[in-house]
């Protein structure tokens, strides 16, 4: 990792971790929890939606699967004297949801692009219908509850917040590792031209299934933390198309296929949504304002904020370098290549 990259990550995660200790207002930390939930989801979605180019609209189904797994398991059990048992169960939830993802992906990933999006959103509604109707397991529309956490009232949100910071770090760490390994290169090839990738020996099926399984596994773990946080879950909120749309919008806004883009998107959209809901909530105008902001950004920065800004900066640098160089300088030696791999650095 470049030194600037390490520094950026240290500052970002240092500030994130410090926030719930510096600020005690519940609404701020609560907003932090939901921002982190979406940042983690968008970052995880990006592994398969951004890197592999498979625009899944079904991730909320796996978020819900993780939430229900956690709630069903702890429904009649204690959460431990310190309330940490549900967090310790996260790796198991993640692994279970990832295996589920392998099975689903093995079938769904035979389709591509728009068909894949439709297949996965169908999956979402199938899972939601199951959650509504498997009464003995999920409690149906009555919902299902798990014991509340025995955390200190003054800092109740803090443990959830910190676990979500860890999950975000996990997701971004995996994204970083993917971008800097053969897996990321293979995924980018799959995203660009899967048929040709197959023709040059890329393990297409393996690498895209791996990305899908890891991605939904993280979404499942975040769902489990969410279930513990809200303690009572209902099908329409646990398997919610708005969660799917939220993470996809955030990844698009910040920049698909980049390390920081989806996280940036979440840190802009979740607080903005809350603010707009607070300001215009009474009139429902906030939904229109939300959509308008999004349309505007998509019009002006179609590839997302980070890639568009990066592109602008590179072009400016090339122009200034060209101006200062000998007029007969070969264009090939100017600055574009210095940090060429658009998506990597």
């Amino acid at each position: 990792m470049s030194r600037a990259g390490v520094l950026r990550a240290l500052i970002f995660f240092g500030l994130l971790t410090a926030l719930p200790f510096a600020v005690t207002e519940h609404w701020i930390v609560n907003l932090g929890v939901f921002t982190l939930i979406y940042a983690g989801l968008a970052s995880a979605w990006n592994l398969v939606g951004g890197l592999a180019g498979y625009p899944s609209l079904g991730h909320a189904a796996f978020f819900g699967a993780g939430a229900y797994a956690e709630a069903i398991y702890f429904q009649h059990r204690g959460v431990g004297a310190n309330g940490l048992l549900p967090f310790l169960a996260l790796p198991v939830v993640g692994a279970g949801v990832a295996v589920l993802g392998l099975a689903v992906g093995w079938i769904a990933m035979r389709t591509r692009s728009d068909v894949f999006a439709i297949v996965t959103i169908t999956l979402l509604f199938v899972v939601q219908t199951l959650a509504f109707n498997l009464n003995s397991l999920t409690g149906g529309s009555q919902g299902i509850g798990m014991p509340g956490a025995p955390f200190d009232v003054d800092s109740y949100e803090r443990p959830f917040y910190l676990v979500l910071v860890l999950l975000l770090a996990l997701s971004m760490g995996i994204t970083w590792a993917a971008l800097h390994s053969g897996a990321g290169l293979s995924l980018q090839a799959v995203a660009a031209d899967e048929e040709r990738a197959r023709g040059i020996g890329v393990h297409v099926t393996g690498v895209k299934l791996l990305a899908f399984a890891v991605s939904v596994g993280i979404a499942g773990m975040i769902g489990a933390v969410w279930a513990y946080y809200v303690t009572f879950i209902y099908p329409q909120f646990a398997v919610d198309p708005l969660i799917t749309i939220g993470m996809v919008l955030m990844a698009y806004l910040g920049g698909r296929g980049t390390l920081w883009g989806p996280v940036l998107g979440a840190f802009i959209l979740v607080p903005a949504q809350q603010y707009l809901a607070y300001q215009y909530g009474a009139t429902q105008l906030y939904l229109i304002a939300y959509a308008a902001v999004f349309l505007l950004i998509m019009l002006l920065l179609p590839r997302g904020i980070l890639p568009s800004v990066g592109h602008l900066m590179r072009r400016r640098r090339v122009v200034t370098e060209r101006a200062s160089e000998e007029p007969d300088q070969d264009a090939a030696t100017t600055g574009i290549g210095a940090d060429g791999g658009v998506m990597v650095r």
């Binding site: 023709g199 574009i336 998506m343």
Partner: protein, 243 residues
Amino acid sequence: MTTLLEVEHLTKRFGGVTAVDDCSFAVEQGTITGLIGPNGSGKTTVFNLITGYLRADSGRILFSGRPLTKSDPAALYRAGLSRTFQQARIFPRLCALDNLIVAAGHSWHSLFARRRGRDDSRRARELLDEFGLVAHAEHPAGELSYGQRKLLEFASVLMSEPRLVLLDEPTAGVNPTLVETMERHIRRRHAAGFSFLIVEHDMSLVMRLCDPVIVLDRGTRIAAGSPDAVRADPAVLDAYLGQ
């Protein structure tokens, strides 16, 4: 001379159309074999069958003596059978160097290794140098001209050290200078021991580069032999010019 590729009684139908009809031919090691035929004679379908993109309805294909049982382009590529496409398919957002590295014929292990392994990088740079693209190594391949993309695609499929390279119209749509460049690169690689099977419409290029030449018409082989013999064959004249 040993036989590298054998195509035996290959048939492929698309609905009511028989694109390849009981087609048989062989590619000997160390040759530049040309595959020609009028439009719609089944050349690209034959390519897709050989490289595993399509499954044959009947007949079989043997690569270095072993029958190809499953149609898996990736496995065939790793086994030494490379191909290029008619339309120069490269990865436009990846830089030229990454376009080569991604084609290095990967093992599972490399998924978890560094993005640019030292060996792969070195060989990729050597190939870019050989193909005159080294100045573009770190630039997105989408910035290259069409002809350069054709060269880049050709260079990339050499990363696996293939035993047989299938080129689908390597000079279609490029300028005359680049046709010569492409020819020079094919000859140089041929001299280094590579075997080629080439589909090409540029007859003068086929006649001076390829030997033997196989002629397809309506999905089946109608002639094969040296360029001169094929040119004089009445069946070939008939297929190209009609009655």
